[in-house]
Assembly symmetry: C2
């Protein structure tokens, strides 16, 4: 064996948080120990662990590991090189642990999308100053190595646009609605029963989780400071079985798409001299069947990145779950183990140094043009259609197709009517204006639902 | 700006080979110079170039770069850190250049799949001994960072199986046949006219190119020594429009699938103590519509890897072309530029040190079980179907479905008849045996075509 690959001292890991992902990391490091040591050139060894409840049965033997009731005590241990943070939450104990770990000269690996979306720039700057690695592959798209794919694999490209399916719960629900024709509430209950949705599902189904991930991807792709607050976010809870059927009739499926675009020539964060802006939106979209994202089913995640030389790249796989998430966490650990022969080197957490991450102003979405699906629930009385189409005309929205469909009420009497239209490509501001004109109209039984149509 | 990110000296590159990819690399490095410097922490600078014909018009200004008529002279230049080999060919000038570059203490980046498939282990060992990097992301799947995805992104996993669509020319032809109903020869001619197929297409359409790439993926995924010679290879030239139609009727599309499996428990190259074997095959398959590979159209490439923790990962994008290939070449250069603060570090080219790559015996495919599509062209006379089905019965092949379809000859007279069957899951050896029984039968107008069916 080559002299350069003499065994190095093991990489010593402290693990904070022992939920399903934490247990998965332990299981992975134990199961694949030999293989990891060969690939990393050294062993990964868990030295300390900690979580809120020591007594809880996690189905794995933890007796080999030192237990810390106070997880921040890990950051002071001499037998720890890297702290793995799996506590969760944007602030609180996770953030305290992260700051202390870095201050204590430990590297930090985390799956915490909320913390990175809110505090990623600060933590990256701290890590760079301390000369310790900070990695968070597991924070976006579970087991899919998309952060590495963008940060390194696509590093030669100016990226115009990054978008994808970033929330497995929503995709599970939308594909189940599609396959069964059932309603949202019904499918959500099943997803909860099967463990694909939380008891309190708001974080997932209202798009917040996807927005956290999108803010991280934007930072990697465009050199933007993570800016969760500016992500326009809409969820999937208002989507009806009728919307899915209508989309299908038109040749589309509905997917919750998280999309970021950097508006401005050659936007790489370097030339951003004020006329650059960042567009970030999480919104259900109609996706044409010819697009690869239309075929992403169940709890799968997928990310598309469009580079000026690479063209369209697609990364796809399990977006959540203990195994996939552990796979991403340990990939970060292997990267660190491979690179660190003689102490830690500074390692940029994003694509550029933290100090160079640009706070980009959010792009006003009204300037965008797109095709849109707009669905109304209206009272079944004369003149409603005329009212809606007049508003569209007055706002300058050009209608490509329109369908009106009666729905029977529970007792068979005439009830609300569904009107769904697809617009031609046009300014999003015009659609907003049209809906403003209709606001408060007694003809509308519910607020209209707007979903944009993804191009092929 | 953080002190750690003070500009470092540029990474100095010599470029050998100035075909479309070479020209693409120059264009990329010039176009995205600023962005690359920010991401890599230093500039990429081309110092020397060389190719066979200096006078040829390549559409780019080369006057800024030192020209070497003898590309091996690059390896002795003091102003070169990395040699980029884009000459091509498994042996000859490319291999000479690669060996000399490494011997001269230069790093090597190459897009040369044939050379890595044949000599990857030797070159990796040389590079490790010399302490210089060897990278070849562009050798597999063009712009798709799949080598990085497997080597690093999936590094925590034992991979059971790696497979995908690795030849854009074949996929372009198969999807065009599918969309237009036209015959192979016809579509090939169009692909040649549009630049998606070479004037001499054998290398692509007979599966050799995909087999080179597969041998490299196997090495990365399983720690196997690249073993191109053991790849069972079949191409697409015998596929008829009728096969595509038949597959479609059954709910499948036809794709040229390159597949590698490491047979043996927990196969990571470490535990391979003799009872492990490597299965590698390039063959057209029937792919069910529910599988993501069924939706890969045109000259796109896609690779699926199945990890024991990650589950199924998919990497997809442009498999060829100057832009995507240049994107992969420059990604390797950026990786090298990022890691090299103070001289070169040894960097494993595969997932494990070259000395640890295991020469795995090829797995006998007869032991495998699968469902298969078998198509016969038979003479239109009584008893043929009985003869075929008897052979199947005698060999123990269980038929799931069978269709017989007459074809009219050019003058409208009765001509050869197509018989297509799908077998139940069973040993591949049984199918081979059945076809052996039928060998030389005057009832068969052509050799039967066997395509296996990919599971979902």
């Amino acid at each position: 064996m080559n002299q350069k690959f003499e065994p190095k001292p093991p990489l010593r890991i402290a693990l904070a948080g022992l939920g399903t992902v934490g247990a998965g990391v332990i299981r992975l490091i134990e199961t694949n120990a030999l293989l990891i040591a060969r690939r990393a050139g050294r062993r990964l060894v868990i030295t300390a662990i900690g979580a809120r409840d020591r007594a809880k049965d996690r189905g794995i033997d933890l007796s080999a590991y030192a237990w810390e009731d106070d997880i921040t005590a890990m950051t002071a241990r001499a037998d720890v090189d890297i702290v793995v943070e799996l506590v969760g939450g944007a602030d609180g104990p996770a953030l305290t642990l992260a700051r202390k770990a870095i201050a204590g000269g430990k590297g930090l690996v985390t799956a915490n999308k909320a913390m990175i979306a809110h505090h990623g720039r600060e933590l990256a700057a701290l890590a760079e100053a301390a000369g310790v690695p900070l990695r968070f592959e597991a924070a976006v798209a579970g087991g899919v190595p998309v952060i590495k794919g963008l940060r390194e694999g696509a590093a030669a490209n100016a990226l115009a646009r990054v978008y994808g399916i970033l929330n497995g719960t929503c995709n599970f629900i939308l594909s189940a609605m599609e396959e069964t024709g059932r309603d949202f509430t019904d499918v959500l209950a099943e997803a909860q029963a099967r463990g694909f949705a939380e008891a309190d599902p708001a974080f997932d189904i209202e798009g917040t989780d996807a927005a956290h991930k999108l803010a991280i991807l934007s930072a990697i792709a465009f050199g933007a400071a993570p800016d969760f607050a500016s992500v326009e976010t809409a969820g999937i809870s208002r989507i009806l079985a009728a919307d899915i059927a209508q989309a299908a009739a038109l040749g589309y499926v509905i997917r919750l798409i998280a999309m970021a675009e950097c508006d401005g020539a050659e936007c790489d964060g370097a030339d951003c001299d004020g006329d650059v802006s960042l567009f970030q939106r999480v919104q259900p979209h109609l996706v044409p069947l010819a697009h690869p994202l239309a075929h992403v089913k169940g709890a799968t995640n997928a990310v598309v990145a469009e580079g000026n030389f690479s063209g369209r790249l697609l990364f796809q796989g399990a977006g959540a779950g203990d195994g996939p998430t552990a796979s991403a966490v340990v990939a970060d650990l292997i990267d660190i183990a491979r690179g660190l022969d003689a102490g830690f080197e500074a390692d940029m957490a994003f694509s550029v140094p933290a100090a160079d991450l640009v706070a980009m102003p959010p792009a006003p979405s009204g300037h965008r043009t797109s095709r849109a699906y707009i669905r109304f629930i209206v009272a079944d009385r004369p003149g409603v259609l005329a009212e809606i189409t007049a508003a569209m005309r007055d706002a300058g929205v050009s209608i490509e197709s329109l369908i009106q469909k009666g729905q029977s009420g529970p007792d068979g009497e005439a009830a609300d009517v569904l009107v769904a239209m697809v617009t031609h490509d046009g300014p999003e501001a015009a659609v907003t204006h049209a809906l403003k004109l209709l606001e408060g109209s007694p003809s509308l039984a519910a607020a209209p639902l707007v979903m944009h149509i993804l191009g092929e």
